[in-house]
């Protein structure tokens, strides 16, 4: 069940009613049980059999967490950690990467003119949200191993932490220490909090249904033109720009619905976006885009791999490897690998040039680097959306070609209307961060909310699945 569905609204309304009538302070057992049941129903509505998978990984991690906590020796702790990681990464690898690996081997054999007939393609349906909940579950066991967390006293509580339906499918990737304590913290219903939750949900629905879904119609229709022969550069750049707005609105929209729903149910989830398209450096971009994933990768991958320690090329290699893996996390395809690689390379070059911290640089350098960063980010999105690497490279070739040919833009032009809210949001954030504009007050929020609600009712686009659902 998608967030944009009546089934979700029904489930959410039911759970919210539980918040009012069963758990006004949200720590009551019946209310938490209701949350757990709702979360399992939510996940089971996709492919019911995969509920077993969720139960299995959480059971392994819950058990491993306790074993690690009780084990006196480091060796045994390591053993249980490895067991937990093997279960999580094993499942993730099997469901997400098996066919990718088999297809790659088949292509390699064919390229070498060897017989590849015996290599199968497995009929596997990717369990929805597996990349998110395995990462979340893994962070729990790693934190216990590091001594930063105590294990959860009961399995249902741990299961609720992982499967809480507001963040289960596409994040934010919540750490155990960010959510677990909230299950025991009393919090009464407050008008302000409820209204903020509603505001976030309306914003999320607006971004998804009005902005992302309508942009998707244009991007899907005209995408292949960007890589068509002799297409002027303005077309692929425009399409890349529209896709960048689409993916932002899609994912930020999802996150806002998740945050708003969690707020109304009495929980606070971490923010996942902070106007990424005003980032002045690649480093900053990754502190503004999919923040919880960036954090996860930094703490559990980049730093353990060596981080910025080491001499010579090692820190750069670490950056590149980390970003390649981040790319692969998004999807089992070479396009995602290239997307991650481009970001890794850009981060490495930025560090080598000393541009990763631009605050002390002259305005001209900051402005120039800002433009460069945003152009590279746009170009990299091409691989995120491309059907295959070849299409991505054709796109890039066109982007570097003859820029003129505005007549091709005529049919795409209406899409800019749907991209404009993304631009306005970023413009506003740019001004607010510099103190040139105040944060919106209650009145302004009320007006914005009314306008967004009206647009949701009248300007919604064709319902598409959230882009990040596939990861």
């Amino acid at each position: 069940m998608s967030f944009i569905s009546f089934s979700f609204l029904f489930l959410f309304a039911l759970t919210l009613a539980g918040r009012f009538f069963l758990g006004p302070t949200k720590v009551e057992k019946p209310y938490l049980t209701l949350l757990l049941i709702a979360s399992l129903v939510f996940y089971g509505s996709f492919i019911p059999q995969y509920l077993l998978l969720l139960l299995f990984t959480t059971a392994v991690d819950y058990w491993a967490g306790w074993r690690m906590f009780k084990s006196p020796s480091l060796g045994r702790k390591k053993f249980y950690l490895c067991l937990s990681l093997a279960a999580n990464l094993g499942l993730l690898g099997f469901f997400k990467y098996t066919n990718f690996a088999l297809d790659t081997v088949r292509q390699l054999l064919r390229a070498l003119r060897l017989d590849a007939a015996g290599i199968p393609h497995l009929d596997l349906a990717l369990p929805i949200g597996i990349s998110f909940f395995t990462f979340q579950s893994m962070s729990y066991t790693i934190d216990i191993y590091r001594g930063q967390l105590k294990p959860v006293p009961s399995y249902p509580r741990f299961l609720l932490f992982v499967s809480f339906f507001t963040h289960l499918i596409s994040g934010p990737i919540v750490r155990a220490k960010e959510l677990l304590y909230q299950f025991d913290r009393k919090r009464r219903l407050r008008t302000g909090v409820c209204l903020q939750g509603l505001y976030l949900m309306v914003l999320g629905f607006f971004l998804k249904m009005v902005v992302a879904d309508n942009l998707a119609a244009y991007v899907n229709r005209y995408w292949t033109r960007g890589g068509a022969a002799e297409m002027p550069a303005v077309v692929p750049w425009t399409l890349a720009f529209l896709f960048s707005c689409q993916i932002f609105a899609d994912f930020f929209g999802y996150t806002n619905i998740a945050l708003g729903a969690a707020y109304l149910l009495g929980f606070k989830l971490p923010a996942n976006f902070q106007s990424p398209y005003i980032a002045g450096s690649f480093r900053e971009f990754w502190t503004r885009w999919h923040i919880t994933l960036s954090r996860w990768i930094r703490d559990y991958l980049y730093i353990p791999l060596g981080g910025n320690r080491g001499r010579g090329l090692k820190p750069y290699a670490t950056l590149l490897v980390t970003m390649l893996l981040a790319g692969l996390w998004h999807g089992a395809a070479f396009t995602f690998l290239i997307w991650g690689g481009l970001h890794g390379l850009a981060l490495a070059v930025e560090r080598a040039l000393g541009l990763n911290r631009t605050q002390d640089k002259p305005l001209a350098v900051r402005a120039g680097w800002f433009v460069a960063v945003q152009l590279v980010v746009l170009a990299a999105w091409v691989f995120f959306r491309a059907q295959d690497a070849a299409q991505g490279f054709r796109f890039l070739a066109n982007m570097a070609g003859n820029p003129f040919g505005f007549r091709y833009l005529a049919p795409i032009a209406p899409a800019f209307l749907f991209a404009s809210p993304v631009l306005l949001m970023h413009g506003r954030a740019f001004l607010s961060e510099r103190g040139w504009l105040k944060a919106p007050g209650k009145g302004e929020k009320a007006l914005i909310c009314a306008a967004m609600l009206y647009c949701i009712l009248t300007f919604y686009g064709k319902n598409n699945a959230f882009i990040y659902f596939q990861f």
Binding site: M1, S5, F6, S7, S45, P48, T191, G192, L195, N214, A217, Y218, R221, P411, P414, K442, G443, K445, A446, L447, C449, A450, A451, L453, Y454, L457, T458, F459, G461, K462, N463
Partner: protein, 369 residues
């Protein structure tokens, strides 16, 4: 920070009343503006204004997907399958079958003969696999199965067919529930909050077809209005009947006969030249185009019927037009279907079957082709 020794009164904590009023006021102003402005913007403002009440119909939003129809027919979720079970004649094929056999002609035939007809086509170009599985799953045992042979005898499935077959009954039920609720909600919503359209992608209303649950026939569609129509050209390409297709057709025929059903073939006309032209046009207009690109124009129905030793009911094509190079217009569909039924009821087995029905007469036999 306020000093605690200040004499000024502490600021009164503001509630949310003013903001709530502002919200309601702004929303009402927008809604009123939209409501009163929309008629000025053109006749399209009334969202599906010309459409009938869906009543006992399955509404297929063909821009999004065909799941409502597919789930309904494949899993027998609504009343459709109860009616299909009672049918003497099943019409099978792709969307051309849907557009060719519309409700008026089918009802007239049923009134005349006392037979029951059900249009069990899977409109996204699905062939015998989906049709046969639907027949088996719902235990249909009609006396006759009329098959539009074009693209039918193949083991392929459309993406909608694949998804429908894989998803299972529970999910199908949920999806149908979602679709219907969403449709009803939007129909009511847009009476108060009209949609505005601009360009060829962001349109006021979606393209839909209404299929009756009573006989599966097309009751209403809204995308032919204002379209240029195309003439059918009588001359078709050279006939070619691949061995594989013949083998599958034989198997299908045998499988039907085991259920007591006789196969009858037909060939709903369209033509490739206008089809290609329409596709180009629809691409340039950004309009929806239903059929896949690999349709072949070969007129092999005659050969197939001869090989299978089954009747071919193939009414003349003169004067027929399609609305997109592929699907018959309403008027042409009536001509075609009336011609078809006149020939169909003249077939010996059909005449015998009609005579078995109490109080009905088969009527005068139509001249043989």
């Amino acid at each position: 920070m306020r000093s605690f020794i200040s004499n000024s009164r502490p600021p009164r904590r503001r509630g949310y009343g003013a903001a709530a009023c502002l919200f309601a006021g702004a929303f009402l102003v927008l809604a009123a503006a939209g409501f009163f402005l929309s008629p000025a913007l053109g006749p399209d403002h009334a969202w599906l204004g010309g459409a009938p009440e869906p009543g006992d119909c399955v509404v297929d939003e063909i821009d999004s997907d065909h799941f409502d129809v597919y789930d309904d027919l494949y899993y027998g979720l609504g009343r459709s399958m109860d009616n299909a079970r009672k049918a003497d004649v099943l019409l099978l094929g792709n969307s051309r079958t849907l557009f060719a056999f519309r409700e008026d002609s089918v009802k007239a035939f049923c009134r005349q003969t006392g037979l029951r007809v059900f249009n069990l086509c899977f409109p996204a170009n699905d062939g015998m696999v989906m049709a046969y599985e639907a027949i088996l799953r719902n235990d249909l045992r009609p006396a006759f199965a009329v098959v539009n042979e074009n693209q039918f005898f193949t083991l392929g499935r459309s993406p909608y067919g694949t998804d429908t077959a894989q998803e299972g009954r529970a999910r199908a039920r949920m999806r149908v529930w979602e679709h219907r609720l969403s449709w009803e909600a939007r129909r009511r919503l847009h009476r108060l909050f009209p949609r505005f359209g601009f360009g060829d992608i962001y349109r006021v209303e979606p393209n839909v077809t209404y299929q009756s649950a009573e006989d599966g026939c097309l009751v209403y569609e809204n995308f032919s209005a204002g379209r240029e129509t195309y003439g059918i050209q009588g001359e078709k390409g050279a006939s070619d009947l691949p061995e594989d297709e013949l083998r599958l057709a034989r198997k299908f025929k045998e499988a039907l006969e085991e259920r007591g059903t006789r196969l009858v073939l037909t060939d709903i006309p369209y033509d490739m030249e206008s089809y290609v032209r329409a596709r180009k046009l629809s691409n340039s207009l950004g309009a929806l185009f239903l059929a896949p690109e690999n349709l072949k124009p070969f007129h092999k129905a005659v050969k197939l019927a001869r090989e299978l030793k089954v009747p071919l009911v193939d009414p003349p094509l003169e004067g027929l037009r399609t609305l997109d190079g592929s699907h018959l217009t309403g008027e042409s569909a009536r001509k075609f279907a009336d011609g078809f039924f006149a020939r169909f009821k003249a077939l010996e087995p059909v005449r015998e079957w009609i005579l078995k029905k109490p109080g009905k007469k088969p009527g005068r036999a139509a001249p043989e082709d």
